[in-house]
Amino acid sequence: MTRPDGGFAGKVLRVDLSTGKTSTLDTREKYGALLGGTGLGYQVLWEEVPAGTGPFDPANKLVFATGALAGTSVPCSGRTAITTIFPSCWPKALVGSGHMGGQFAARLKYAGYDAVIVEGRSEKPVWLFIRDGRVELRDATHLWGCGIRRATLEISQEMGADCCVAAIGQAGENCAPLATVVNSLSHSAGGVGGVMGAKNLKAIGVQGSGGVRIAGDKGQWERLVKFHLSILGANNQHVVPAFPSPESEYYSPGSRWVGEPGKRWGAARPPVEITGSIHDMSRIAYRTNSAAYFLGEQAWKHTVRGNGCTSCPIRCHTTLKVPAMATKYGVSEIAQGTCIALNFGRFFFPQQPGGPKGQSALEACMLGMNMADDLGIWSNYGQLQRDFIKLANDGVFKAKLGSAEYAAIPWDKWRAGDPAFLLDIIPRIGHRQGELGHVLGQGSGGPFEHWGIREEVWTADRATTYWKMGHPKHHANEDDGQCGVIINTQYNRDAQCHSHTNFVRNGLPLAEQKRLAGELWGSPDSVDAPGHYTRMNPHKARRAKWALIRKELHDCLGLCNWMGPWVASPLKERGYRGDNSLESRFFSLATGQKLDREALDLAGERVFTLHRALTIRDMATADMRGAHDHVPGWVYEDPKGAQPFSQGTIRMDRADMALAMDMFYELMGWDKATGAPTAQAYARLGLADVGRELKARRLLPGGDAA
């Protein structure tokens, strides 16, 4: 008989830095309805962090939370959500989460904990030692001022080789809103490092000797894991290779499945050549090479291996070795990263000699990864670099910085695209040196606040890709029309949602995508070709809701929404179908608590709605539509004046987007006028008490309506 106590480690650790006291809570009893991850984090903030708390106040809490599937053999289950009052949210800090992969989530669960709630503030720098049931706050005075690598090394030497360390660098120590916490060399969570710094918490080192119990039948579990592996594509669940292959009917040059047989990891010793079937489940790791995707052919010869998270076969953090880095720049010749972190350095330059895939770009990427992941700087999804370029091009730095500070910056190197420029600029930001370092470390809100730049200047400029509240778009109308826009209105930071974009970028022909979309969301018209958008319809609203809730579910369960959901697959014999119920099947088997897809999605909706309630409470307004769910002006413009819905534009139509928001709110059971959940919506999701509290604060739609 299945015991409903699997999946979760069972305990939540609470650490009060002010008193040094630690205690534990029962995960299922206290937080089971919210699943874990962000759900657990939102609940802690709802219950324990009063509205108006600032991100760096001791009263703010920092919740490192994994989920029921983290630490198991479920592919792509290495995620930890870190929820807090998010410091880069501007003009007022609101609830937000940073997310990291790596090995932290699994180690925490093996130590017996699903989450760590960090509260208060230590008088002196400390780091948190967790070894199974043994929890200690240890002195970190000697680590304060050190970069993340040094801190990680020292703690690892103290704890032992099998520990995992999540540490902040100097940016976090200096309470930069754009600061990360990093584990396993390159796995970072943005925006939360400064909160750790404010609490004088340098790091968490964790070591566990336990495991995660699977409640269901082990044979069924193994079969489901194998099935999941069979429907995996490459990074971002791109399900067709980038190259024509005899084993694939389709290919897409834009796919991240770049591991073509015959390519070589040239810097491995000895070099490794990719051979065999592209569908071989034991060779999935060869499909992805993030460096080759972003930097082109040259990256193959520098590739050492693919690195990644616990249980994840994708290995999207590509490890590169470029010997010139040591001789030219005095940094390690090895670095690893993916996506924005991999591009951290080169994104500072409007252009570089040799173009975006030249040697200078490669060196800039190497330098950026090395420095940002040591100082612990977050790029705010590349907004830091776009802000830098715009501020420089618009003459703001020249006008606002003191003449000595401005003159000390090697602008000639920047204009020349010389990677050595990064040796100057990145430490300024990490250490928050001078006015530039202080302002840029704050995020987009920094220039707005300190230099009096109107936010509208950014929202009108498409090149900034700025969206709202201090953050940029994250796969919006450029990828997915109205769905992308809706998704980008909902969070208090960049949306970080990939449910929708992983589908539209999966590489299948449009007819195949539409066929799958018809099965999944009720109509082929729920998906458009990029840049050939049709008017809003209810199926798009349904897909937007699905995308958001699936993202939130992944953040609760410890799954990676950069990889999932897995609703398309490379398998022709399955008609390229994936499995829309995969998450609930895993959850049910792991925990022993049987939830079908609809029931688990409802739990995800509960978590997503709690995020909405927290935002409403802390903004002290129910008018989300007017005060929160903003769309920047550039979305409604086209550089060439093309009309919305014409081919070749991502320009959206204001009336159509208003209709889109109406449809989305209605589908969520929210009030259309304000975009706020109604009392009925809260009650339907088991959040009646949340609804009651908001009613008491007159924060239900219609003021005090019940």
Binding site: P244, P246, S248, Y250, S252, A511, P530, G531, Q647, G648
Partner: protein, 213 residues
């Protein structure tokens, strides 16, 4: 003819086509027929030495009956039956080659797309035009000219330039157009399926994906 003969021939044909597909080769019916005949010839009458070194394995009764049935057919009859078997086999696909020949492959080993590329490799003009049109129609998207320099196309810059020049001069290929992105990269598309402005948008978008992770 006994039904077992047809079944045995289907197995032999599938084996021959699959073997060729593994080697990335398309095969004609005649080539398959040659292999079938060779196998039939190789099955010596009882008491004679076998051509292969492997010890003889007694075939199943239905296989033996099928082989006997096939041996009773003359080459023309065998060819006709093979044609029907190849066309009807659920695991095999048929491709009308640019040479006019009917070609066969196993799509699970050699996809239709890849087979089409292999078939056209001898004619850069048809290869390039066919791929451009298929991409514009199906995905839809223009394709970077650089695509044709890489496997399995493996065309030289001269081959590509000649093919594009020939297309420009031929009325049959007036649908093939090109757009140039801000980076100077040339992308090719077919006006049968994509408007120029949209093709440019898609080409620029394809380049921007790497800067929009």
């Amino acid at each position: 003819m006994i039904p077992e003969a047809r079944d045995v021939l289907a197995d032999m044909a599938a084996q021959a086509v699959r073997s060729a597909s593994r080697e990335l080769r398309l095969v004609t019916r005649d080539e398959v027929l040659e292999e079938v005949c060779a196998i039939l010839a190789d099955i010596a009458p009882e008491g004679e030495a076998h051509a292969t070194a492997a010890p003889p394995v007694a075939p199943l009764p239905e296989t033996a009956a099928g082989l006997e049935g096939l041996a009773a057919l003359d080459r023309q009859e065998l060819s006709a039956l093979l044609g029907a078997v190849l066309a009807a086999h659920p695991g095999l696909a048929v491709l009308q080659g640019v040479s006019g020949q009917t070609l066969h492959h196993a799509p699970d080993l050699l996809s239709r797309t890849y087979a089409r590329i292999l078939d056209r490799k001898g004619s850069p003009l048809l290869l390039v035009a066919g791929e451009i049109r298929a991409n514009s129609r199906d995905y839809p998207r223009p394709v970077p000219v650089e695509l044709f320099k890489r496997p399995p196309f493996d065309l030289t810059p001269e081959d590509i330039a000649q093919a594009l020049a020939a297309m420009a001069a031929s009325p049959e290929y007036q649908d093939i157009g090109s757009v140039t992105t801000g980076t100077g990269a040339v992308h090719l598309f077919s006006t049968r399926h994509l408007e120029r402005g949209y093709a440019l948008f898609l080409a620029q978008r394809s380049e921007s994906l790497e800067m929009n992770p």
